[in-house]
C-alpha cells in the first residue's frame, strides 16, 4: 500500500502549487481585460477546489464585469463558506436591484469579520445612502476616519479604497475630506500598483470636482492596461460628455460590448438621446437597464427625463415616485433633470426641478447651484445670487459657482435703463452711449417681431450687454471661452457689448435682433423649439430686418456644399450640437436660415408660426413637417438639397476643382496663367483681381473682379470684388460707381465698417448728405465708440435739418467723454435748441457753463435760450 499512499502525497503536492498559479494567471487575465480566459481559469480552479475563496471571488468579479449578474449570484450562493463571499454576493445583488438581500449580505460579511469586511462596510454605507438613510450612512462613513488613523499605514489596498470611498461621501458636508479621499486612493495604488480600482476612483473623484482632463488621464491609464475595463470606459465617456467633446457614444458602445447589462452606460446613452429629441430611444435604453436592475436609480432618472421632456406629466410623476420609493432622499434625479432641462433650454423647468431636489436633500449643492444659475437666467438676480452663495459654501470646488459669483459682484457697476418693453442692463462706463442706440433698435425689433409672430413674450425683456467677453461667457456658461456673441434664455438675453470685440467683428444691433427673435421663439414654444429651428429662424429674421444682416454665403460654405459636408435638414440639430467639424456650426446657421426662407416663400409665414405652436404642444420636427407642410422630412431633405444646388449653381461651377490652383501668396503671373486656363474658376479670379489691385493695375484687375461677380454675385466677404471695385472707381474719380459698388457690398455684409464710412465719404462728395448720414448711422451699429464719426454724423444731420438725429449724435459725443466736454455740451444744447427742445437745451447749456463759466459762446446761447421762452 505504501506506493499508493506515496502517490496520493505526490498528487497532493503536485495539485497545491498548480491551484495557486492558476488563480494568479486568472487574476492577470482579469486585470488585462482577457475576461474569457479569466472566466475559464477561475471556473477550472473552482472545480478543482470549491473552497477557494480567491477563485470564487475572481469568478464573480469576471461575471459581474461582463454583466452576467445571475450567474455571478449563483456562484456566490454556492460558496461553502458564506461569510467569506458575502460581500461579493452583496455587490452582485446591488447590481441586480435586490437591495434588501444585498443589505443582509453586507451585514453578514461585517458581522462575520470576513477578510473584506471593511469593503463590506463601505458597500453597506453606500447602499444605505442610496436608499435615503443619509444619517446612518454618514455615521458609518465617519467611522472610517478612525479605522484609517488606527491602522497606522497597515491597511491593504482594498481597505484603502474603502477609506477613500468613505471620505468622498463625507466630503459633501466637509469638502476638505475630498483631499483625504485622494490620498487614500493614492496610497492604495502604492500598495497594489497593478490594480485599476484606485485609478478609476481617482478619475471619478476628479470628474466629480470638475477636472475632466485629470479624470481622463486616470481613466486612460487604466485603459492602456485594460482597454475593456467597464468602469474606466464609463468614466471616460462621462468625462467626454462633460467636455461636450465627441466620442462618448463610441466609448459607451465599447463598454456595452463588454457588459451589455451596464445600467449607468445605458442611462448615459439615454441622456444623449434626450438632448436630440430622441425620447423613444432614450426610453428604450432606460428600459433595457431596468430589465436587468429594476431599482437602477440612474435608469429611472433617464426614464423620468424622457417623460418630462415629452410633456408626459403623469408618467413622469409615476417614474419619479418609483425612484423615491427606493430612495426617498434621491435628489440626484431632480438635479439631473434640472441639468437636462438646462441643456434643452427649459430654464424655468430647471428651477422647478432644482427646488424639488433641494427639498429632498438640502445638502445637494449641485441642486443649489442649478437653482441659482437658472434663477439668474430667468432674471431673478438677487435670489439667484443668494442660492449660488449657498451652493458655493457647500461646494467650493465648483468653478461655475465661483466665476458666476465673482461676476455678480461686478453688477453694481452696471445701470438699468427701462424702456417700454425692456430693461437694458449696461455697464456704467457705456450705458449712456449704448442706450442711445440700443433703446430704439430694441423697441423697433420688438414691434416688428411681435407683429410678425402675433405674440408678446413675458415682459420686461432684460438685455444685458457685457463689455468683457469673458464676463458674457461666464454669465452664460459659468466659465470663459464661449464662442458665441449672444445668448437668449427667454426673457433674459445676454450678449457682448460692441466694446467686448474688435472693430468690425460684428454688428451688435443685428446680433441683438437675432437674440430677441430667440426670445419670441422660446416663449411661443414654452422652450421646446429645437436649437436648429430657432437659430435658423433668428438668422432669417435678421435678414428680414435689414439688407445685409445675418449670415451670408461665403466660399467655405460653398465648398462644404460642393463636398457634401453640410448636414441634412433632418440632422441640422447635430450641426449645432455635435458638429462633424468646428466650422459646421457656422455653416449650419446659414443653412438653417435658408430653410426658413424656403418655407416662407413656398408655404407662407403662417406655416412657420404653426410649427412653433406645434412644438409647444410637444410635437417633434418629423411630426410637424408632415402635419404643417404636408411633406415628410426626408422628402424635404431632398428638396432642400436641390434648392441649394440650384441657387448656388453658378458659384458651384466656379468651385469645380481643376487641379492645384495657385495659393494665396502666388505671384501674379502664376495666377494669370491659371485663370487663362480656367476662366470660370472663382477663387482664381478673386486672387488675381486682388493681386492686380495690389500692383495698382486697376484696368487689368477690373475684368477679373467683374468675372468673379458674375460667378458669385452674393459675395460680401472681406475680399469681395465689390470692395475692390469701389476703390478702383474712387481712384478713377467715378464716385457714383464707387458708391454703387459699396451699396451692393453692404447688401451682403453687416459688419464692414470701412465700407460704410467710405460710402458716406463718397455720398457727401456727391452732395447727398442725407444718404451719407444713413451710411454712418449703419456704421454706428457696428462700432459706436468713434467720437469723430459721431461729430461728423451730427453735422450731417444738422445739415439736412434732421435735428433729432443731431441731438442723438451730440448726446453720443457727450457720452463718449470727449476731452472738451464743455464744448460737447454746448453743441448738444445747440442741437436741442434746433430741435425745438428748449428745456433740454437749457439743461445742456447749464451743464456746459457749470464746467466752463467763462465760455462766451455758451453764455450767448444761454441768453438766446432764455429769450426764446
Amino acid at each position: 500500500m505504501r506506493p499508493v499512499g506515496s502517490l496520493w502525497v505526490l498528487l497532493f503536492l503536485w495539485a497545491l502549487p498548480v491551484d495557486g498559479q492558476t488563480v494568479t494567471e486568472a487574476d492577470e487575465d482579469l486585470r488585462s481585460g482577457n475576461y474569457e480566459d479569466a472566466e475559464r481559469t477561475f471556473r477550472r480552479a473552482l472545480r478543482d477546489d470549491p473552497s477557494s475563496l480567491s477563485a470564487r471571488r475572481g469568478l464573480i468579479e469576471v461575471l459581474v464585469t461582463t454583466g452576467e449578474y445571475d450567474d455571478a449570484r449563483s456562484v456566490a450562493l454556492e460558496a461553502p463558506e458564506p461569510v467569506g463571499i458575502a460581500n461579493s454576493l452583496g455587490e452582485v445583488l446591488v447590481l441586480s436591484g435586490k437591495l434588501d438581500e444585498a443589505d443582509a449580505a453586507f451585514r453578514r460579511a461585517i458581522d462575520g469579520n470576513a477578510p473584506d469586511a471593511l469593503t463590506a462596510e463601505a458597500n453597506l454605507a453606500e447602499l444605505l445612502f442610496n436608499r435615503g438613510e443619509l444619517d446612518e450612512a454618514m455615521r458609518r462613513f465617519d467611522r472610517f476616519i478612525d479605522v484609517y488613523n488606527a491602522a497606522d499605514g497597515r491597511l491593504r489596498a482594498a481597505e484603502l479604497v474603502a477609506v477613500g470611498r468613505a471620505m468622498s461621501y463625507l466630503g459633501r458636508t466637509t469638502p476638505v475630506l475630498f483631499h483625504d479621499a485622494l490620498k487614500a486612493y493614492d496610497e492604495a495604488s502604492g500598495v497594489d500598483p497593478g490594480w485599476a480600482e484606485p485609478l478609476v476612483r481617482v478619475g471619478a473623484l476628479f470628474l466629480s470636482k470638475y477636472d475632466s482632463q485629470s479624470a481622463q488621464t486616470e481613466f486612460n491609464k487604466v485603459l492602456a492596461l485594460n482597454p475593456r475595463h467597464p468602469a474606466a470606459l464609463l468614466g471616460l465617456a462621462e468625462a467626454l460628455e462633460f467636455d461636450n467633446a465627441p466620442g462618448a457614444s463610441n466609448v459607451l458602445n465599447r463598454l456595452l460590448e463588454v457588459n451589455p447589462n451596464h445600467a449607468e452606460a445605458r442611462a448615459l446613452l439615454a441622456a444623449q438621446h434626450l438632448t436630440r429629441e430622441g425620447h423613444a430611444e432614450a426610453r428604450a435604453e432606460a428600459e433595457k437597464a431596468l430589465g436587468v436592475n429594476p431599482n437602477a436609480l440612474v435608469a429611472l432618472t433617464a426614464l423620468a427625463g424622457s417623460h418630462m421632456l415629452a410633456g408626459d406629466d403623469a408618467d413622469f410623476r409615476e417614474v419619479r415616485s418609483r425612484a423615491l420609493t427606493i430612495n426617498p432622499r434621491y435628489a440626484a434625479l431632480d438635479a439631473t433633470l434640472a441639468e437636462l432641462s438646462v441643456r434643452t433650454r427649459r430654464y424655468a423647468q430647471a428651477v422647478t426641478r432644482a427646488k424639488a431636489a433641494i427639498e429632498l436633500d438640502s445638502a445637494s449643492w449641485e441642486a443649489w447651484g442649478l437653482l441659482g444659475l437658472n434663477e439668474l437666467r430667468l432674471g431673478n438676480i438677487e435670489v439667484g445670487n443668494a442660492h449660488l452663495e449657498r451652493a458655493f459654501e457647500g461646494d467650493p470646488y465648483n468653478p461655475w459657482f465661483k466665476n458666476t459669483l465673482d461676476l455678480l459682484d461686478t453688477f453694481e457697476r452696471f445701470e438699468s435703463i427701462s424702456t417700454e418693453h425692456f430693461e437694458l442692463f449696461l455697464h456704467g462706463t457705456e450705458s449712456d452711449l449704448l442706450a442711445t442706440y440700443l433703446a430704439p433698435i430694441a423697441e423697433e425689433a420688438y414691434d416688428s417681431l411681435s407683429r410678425r409672430y402675433g405674440v408678446e413674450p413675458p415682459l420686461p425683456v432684460r438685455a444685458e450687454l457685457f463689455p468683457s467677453h469673458a464676463d458674457f461667457s461666464v454669465r452664460t456658461l459659468g466659465e470663459p471661452g464661449l464662442g458665441a456673441l449672444g445668448v437668449s434664455f427667454g426673457s433674459v438675453l445676454v450678449m457682448d457689448s460692441p466694446g467686448a470685440r474688435e472693430l468690425g467683428d460684428y454688428n451688435w444691433a443685428s446680433v441683438f435682433w437675432h437674440e430677441l427673435a430667440h426670445t419670441f421663439h422660446l416663449g411661443m414654444t414654452d422652450h421646446r423649439v429645437p436649437r436648429w429651428f430657432s437659430e435658423g429662424l433668428a438668422v432669417h429674421e435678421q435678414r428680414k430686418a435689414r439688407p445685409g444682416w445675418g449670415h451670408q454665403p461665403d466660399i467655405p460654405f460653398l465648398r462644404a456644399l460642393r463636398d457634401g459636408d453640410l448636414k441634412k435638414v433632418s440632422d441640422l440639430d447635430d450641426g449645432f450640437m455635435r458638429p462633424d467639424y468646428p466650422q459646421q456650426v457656422i455653416f449650419s446657421y446659414y443653412q438653417a436660415s435658408l430653410v426658413f426662407q424656403v418655407i416662407e416663400e413656398r408655404y407662407g409665414f403662417d406655416a412657420i408660426r404653426n410649427m412653433l405652436e406645434g412644438y409647444r404642444r410637444g410635437e417633434t420636427t418629423v411630426d410637424l413637417f408632415e402635419s404643417v407642410l404636408d411633406k415628410p422630412l426626408e422628402e424635404f431633405d431632398d428638396e432642400f438639397d436641390d434648392y441649394l444646388k440650384t441657387r448656388f449653381s453658378g458659384p458651384l461651377r466656379g468651385l469645380v476643382e481643376v487641379g492645384d490652383p495657385p495659393g494665396a501668396t502666388a505671384n501674379t503671373s502664376d495666377l494669370e496663367n491659371f485663370v487663362l486656363g480656367n476662366p470660370g474658376d472663382l477663387v482664381g479670379r478673386l486672387r488675381l483681381g486682388a493681386a492686380l489691385i495690389r500692383e495698382q493695375r486697376f484696368d487689368d484687375a477690373k475684368p477679373h473682379l467683374d468675372a468673379a461677380l458674375r460667378i458669385f454675385p452674393e459675395y460680401g466677404g472681406a475680399d469681395s470684388p465689390y470692395w475692390y471695385l469701389a476703390q478702383i472707381h474712387r481712384a478713377e474719380g467715378d464716385l457714383e460707381r464707387a458708391a454703387a459698388a459699396l451699396e451692393r457690398l453692404t447688401d451682403f455684409s453687416e459688419s464692414n465698417y470701412a465700407a460704410f464710412v467710405m460710402q458716406a465719404d463718397l455720398l457727401e462728395q456727391l452732395g447727398r448728405p442725407e444718404q451719407a448720414a444713413r451710411s454712418l448711422d449703419k456704421a454706428v451699429l457696428i462700432w459706436p465708440y468713434d467720437i469723430d464719426l459721431h461729430l461728423r454724423l451730427a453735422e450731417l444731420h444738422s445739415q439736412v435739418s434732421f435735428f433729432e438725429g443731431a441731438v442723438r449724435e451730440r448726446s453720443a459725443v457727450v457720452a463718449l467723454n470727449p476731452t472738451d466736454m464743455a464744448e460737447a455740451l454746448y453743441l448738444l444744447a445747440v442741437a436741442h435748441q434746433d430741435a425745438g427742445d428748449r428745456m433740454s437745451a437749457r439743461r445742456a447749456i447749464l451743464q456746459a457753463l457749470d464746467l466752463a463759466p467763462n465760455y462766451e459762446e455758451a453764455l450767448e446761447l444761454l441768453l438766446e435760450i432764455r429769450a426764446g421762452r
Binding site: 455697464h427 462706463t429 457705456e430 452711449l433 463689455p467 468683457s468 460692441p498 466694446g499 467686448a500 474688435e502 465708440y785 457720452a815 463718449l816 467723454n817 476731452t819 472738451d820 466736454m821 464743455a822 464744448e823 437749457r842 447749464l846 457753463l849 457749470d850 464746467l851 466752463a852 463759466p853 467763462n854 465760455y855 462766451e856 459762446e857 455758451a858 453764455l859 450767448e860 444761454l862 441768453l863 432764455r866
Partner: protein, 342 residues
C-alpha cells in the same frame, strides 16, 4: 491686460471737478512774466530728431504767437542748432542749460514764472534718472542745482520723455509744478505724451473751461487723456502713465484736479490772455468798471460752487443760471465796448 474699448472712466468726473473749481478773473492783477525754456535732447535717429524738433518749434511758436509770451522770453536749446538757427538758440548741453538758467534767473522778477520743458529720451538706472543730451546727460540733481537762481518764482518742469518719472520726487517742492510723461523710470518706451502736450498749446482743444487760457493742469489732463485714447485706438497696451505733482509731497497724481492732492497750483499756472503776459489794464475807465463787475460775478459763481453740495441740484442750477445770465450780459457789454474801442 489690454485696455477695454470703453470710454475712459472717471475723466468726466475729473474734468467736472477741475472745471468747477476756481474761476480766475481776467488780467487785472499784476502778474509776473513767464520765461520758457525748451530743451530737446538727443533723438538717436533721424525720425526722432525731426519729431522732437518739430514739437519744440511748434511749442515755441505757440507760446509766443498764441499765448503772448514775449519772444525773448522763450528759448529753445536743441540737438542741432545749425539745422534751424532762427529757432534754436544754442546746443542742448548741460553747460548751456545751466548758463541760460543762470541768465534767466538773474533777470527774473520775484513773481515771474519759469516753464522748463524737456523733449527727448530719458533713461533710468539704479542711481538716478537721466535726460539724454549731448555730452553728460541731465539728471534731477543737475536741475536742482541749476534752479537755485529761482528762489521765489513758480517753477514748472515738464519732462515729456521716456523714463521721466524719476525726475518727479527729487525735484518736487513748494511752488513747483512737476509733470512727467511716465509714472516711473521703468516705463522706457518712447512716449506719445509730448505730441499731445504741445498740441494743448498749439490747438484749441485743451481750453477745457473756455476761458481763452491754457493752464498747465488743462494741458496735463488734455495730453493724458489723448495719450490714453491713442493707445486705445491702436489697441495697444498703455506703456506710459503721466503724473503731476504740485503740492511738494514728492508723489505725483495720475488723476490730478482741483480736489487735490495735486492740481491746484498747476491750475493757476496759466498761459494765454492777459495772464500770460504782464498785466494789461485797459485805458478806458468804463471798461475797467465792467471788468471789475465781471470779476465780482465770477467770484459769486465761485462762492456758489463752493456750497454746491449743500444745495439741492435744482436750487443750485437755478441760482447758477441767474449768475450766468448776469455774466453773459456783462460779457456782452464788455465785448461791445471793446469792439467800439478798436
Amino acid at each position: 491686460m489690454i485696455q477695454g474699448r470703453v470710454p475712459i472712466a472717471g475723466a468726466r468726473v475729473l474734468l467736472a471737478t477741475l472745471l468747477t473749481g476756481i474761476v480766475f478773473p481776467l488780467g487785472l492783477q499784476a502778474q509776473g512774466e513767464t520765461h520758457a525754456i525748451i530743451v530737446v535732447g538727443l533723438g538717436g535717429s533721424a525720425q526722432y530728431r525731426e519729431r522732437f524738433h518739430n514739437q519744440a518749434a511748434a511749442l515755441k511758436a505757440a507760446l509766443t504767437e498764441r499765448h503772448g509770451i514775449p519772444a525773448e522770453n522763450v528759448i529753445y536749446l536743441g540737438e542741432r542748432p545749425e539745422d534751424a538757427p532762427d529757432v534754436i538758440a544754442d546746443k542742448s548741453t548741460r553747460a548751456n542749460l545751466f548758463r541760460v538758467l543762470g541768465e534767466v534767473g538773474a533777470r527774473a522778477q520775484p513773481m515771474d514764472r519759469l516753464l522748463l520743458v524737456l523733449i527727448g529720451h530719458g533713461t533710468s538706472d539704479r542711481n538716478e534718472a537721466q535726460f539724454n543730451i549731448s555730452g553728460p546727460d541731465l539728471t534731477p540733481s543737475d536741475l536742482q542745482t541749476a534752479l537755485i537762481p529761482f528762489p521765489t518764482q513758480t517753477i514748472a518742469l515738464v519732462h515729456t520723455g521716456s523714463a521721466s518719472g524719476g525726475f518727479l520726487t527729487p525735484l518736487s517742492g513748494p511752488n513747483r509744478v512737476i509733470i512727467t510723461a511716465t509714472r516711473t523710470g521703468r516705463e522706457r518706451n518712447a512716449t506719445e505724451f509730448p505730441e499731445f502736450f504741445v498740441e494743448a498749446f498749439t490747438d484749441d482743444g485743451a481750453d477745457l473751461d473756455h476761458d481763452e487760457r491754457i493752464s498747465l493742469l488743462e494741458a496735463f489732463l488734455y495730453a493724458r487723456q489723448e495719450v490714453e485714447r491713442r493707445y486705445q485706438e491702436q489697441n495697444e497696451l498703455l506703456t506710459e502713465h503721466a503724473i503731476l505733482d504740485d503740492n511738494g509731497d514728492g508723489e505725483g497724481s495720475h488723476d490730478a484736479g482741483l480736489t487735490g492732492p495735486d492740481g491746484l497750483l498747476a491750475a493757476t499756472f496759466q498761459l494765454g490772455g492777459a495772464a500770460g503776459t504782464s498785466a494789461q489794464t485797459p485805458d478806458d475807465p468804463e471798461l475797467v468798471r465792467l471788468y471789475e463787475e465781471r470779476v465780482e460775478i465770477q467770484e459769486s459763481i465761485s462762492q456758489l460752487r463752493a456750497v454746491r453740495d449743500a444745495l439741492a441740484e435744482d436750487a443750485y442750477l437755478a441760482e447758477m443760471e441767474e449768475l450766468l445770465v448776469e455774466l453773459a450780459l456783462k460779457t456782452r457789454e464788455i465785448r461791445a465796448l471793446e469792439g467800439g474801442n478798436e
